[in-house]
């Protein structure tokens, strides 16, 4: 399938009721024009994977959705409401959870404090039960300083932080990055367990993880969307992978 046709097909597939929609979003980091017109939509209850080489603009896309980087042009809507230019805490309070690329857990705080800090008014006991079911280890280590945890445990804290609230959208940035294969499996299983319960936009370089979790896929290259379609299409298209994912894509 050609890039343009695939993008059209993806656009039609999500035209029904996209939960998140980016239209021609531009963003700068300093003087660098990182996002040069990113447009895509995420369908409720599905996992949309953002793929692309390092430096393509995937992380910047997530950070721009959150308002951590201001969109210089274009619009971002969440559930039909425009959120472009909103401050990050207001975007998050609309029901957005964020798992950053480098986890960014608070190392000087305990595991319990990290989770308590993330908890917004309205967080239910069911959410805590879910977190404890997915990551029983964290319950055992509640009083431990988060900075002393292993990389995998820190990633669990980062994901748990996004799950303690009833979020309608999760933005998850490379959850498998830097983790041992066995831990990657644990993290993937945890994310698979919540798949379908909320809308997820996932940045992931590891194709195996992307395939295991992704429904829809968007390839970003040089700050632009160059492909939109299903994850299965990308998985089946070696030429597409070689062209846009290069050495960064690994199974």
């Amino acid at each position: 399938m050609s890039v343009a046709v695939a993008a059209d097909a993806a656009a039609q597939a999500v035209a029904a009721e996209p939960f998140l929609r980016l239209s021609d979003v531009h963003a700068f980091i300093g003087e660098s024009h990182i996002l040069q017109g990113v447009s895509f939509s995420a369908v409720p209850g599905r996992v949309t994977v953002l793929l692309g080489r390092n430096g393509a603009g995937k992380t910047t896309t997530l950070r721009t959705i959150l308002g951590l980087i201001p969109a210089a042009r274009g619009t971002i809507t969440l559930d039909g409401v425009e959120i472009t230019g909103e401050r990050p805490h207001r975007v998050v309070r609309r029901g957005v959870g964020y798992v950053p690329e480098d986890r960014d857990i608070f190392g000087g705080l305990t595991v319990a404090e990290n989770l308590r800090l993330a908890q917004r008014p309205g967080a239910t006991a069911e959410r805590w039960a879910l977190v404890h079911r997915l990551f029983p280890d964290l319950q055992r280590r509640a009083g431990q300083r988060a900075g002393s945890l292993s990389g995998g445990q820190q990633q669990m804290v980062a994901i748990a932080r996004a799950l303690v609230n009833e979020n309608r959208l999760l933005l998850i940035d490379e959850p498998s990055k830097g983790l041992a294969p066995v831990v990657v499996n644990q993290v993937t299983e945890a994310l698979a367990a919540i798949k379908g319960t909320t809308t997820i936009v996932l940045v992931e370089q590891n194709l195996a993880v992307a395939q295991a979790l992704g429904d829809d896929a968007v390839i970003v290259d040089d700050g632009r969307v160059v492909f939109g379609g299903s994850m299965a299409e990308i998985a089946a298209d070696d030429a597409l992978q070689a062209r846009y994912l290069g050495a960064g894509a690994h199974r």
Binding site: H89, V92, R93, D104, F106, L109, E113, L117, R120, N165
Partner: protein, 294 residues
Amino acid sequence: MSTIILLTLTGLALAAMYFLLAAGLSLIFGLMDVLNFAHGAFFTWGAYAAWWTIGEVSSGPRGSTLGFLLGIVAATVLVGAMAAAVEIGLLRPLYRRPIYQILVTLGVGLALAQLTSVIWRPDARPFPQPGWLASTSTVFGARVPNNRFLLIAAAVAVLAGLLLFLRKTRYGLIVRAGAENREMVQALGIDVDRAFTLVFALGGALAGLGGAFGAAYFGAINPGLGSANLIFAFIVVVIGGLGSVSGSALAAVVIGLAQQFGNYYTTWAGDFIVVLLLAAVLLLRPRGLLGTLR
């Protein structure tokens, strides 16, 4: 022996005053990355607010106990409100321009100090204190002014209160997390601006409180009171570790005692020892005694 006790208690009182000034500086820098050069002026305004209130409430040259207590409250509340206004009105629009923020605090500090001179004249004025506060108690032969004990007690209470605030309250949690990673705090849906205002106001209130007690310690006030002590408060913050309240307390004790003993036994080495200590800490432990690298 009595000299040692007197020097120790006076040094601890000086440390208490430095701590009241440094704790706010440290919290503000830890969370907001702002070096608040207006902090000395906040201290001065605390001293003048207490002095003015005592004068209004008390009759006669000596302050009444009620006047002193109201003076402390006035210094804390007024300077806390002043700091909140500075943060909201002047610093908030400059969050993305840290250099400008520093310049603004420098400008506010100079303007407030000048304003003190204009309103109350530049010359020093005696600070009226109730008789019991100005008189002395004998401790193992050493006659120690009672305001030293009160200052030490106030600093210990503030330290305990701050640690409880930081460890047991949600805002304390936000301040601790914000000192590590401000952006991630926002990304958890927390309005970090509100925490900035709170911390700046809290720091200002503590500087005001320090000013009131500092005035009692020195027995006189002048418009340069705060700026004279601000440099030592900055040294305390750096030695203690930026953002660490416990570190500031520890460093304040080290500096206060070193200064008192140094000045007594050599008449010139007190401040020199402080600079040497600063250099030693910067060389051997750049993050400070209890600071964490960020």
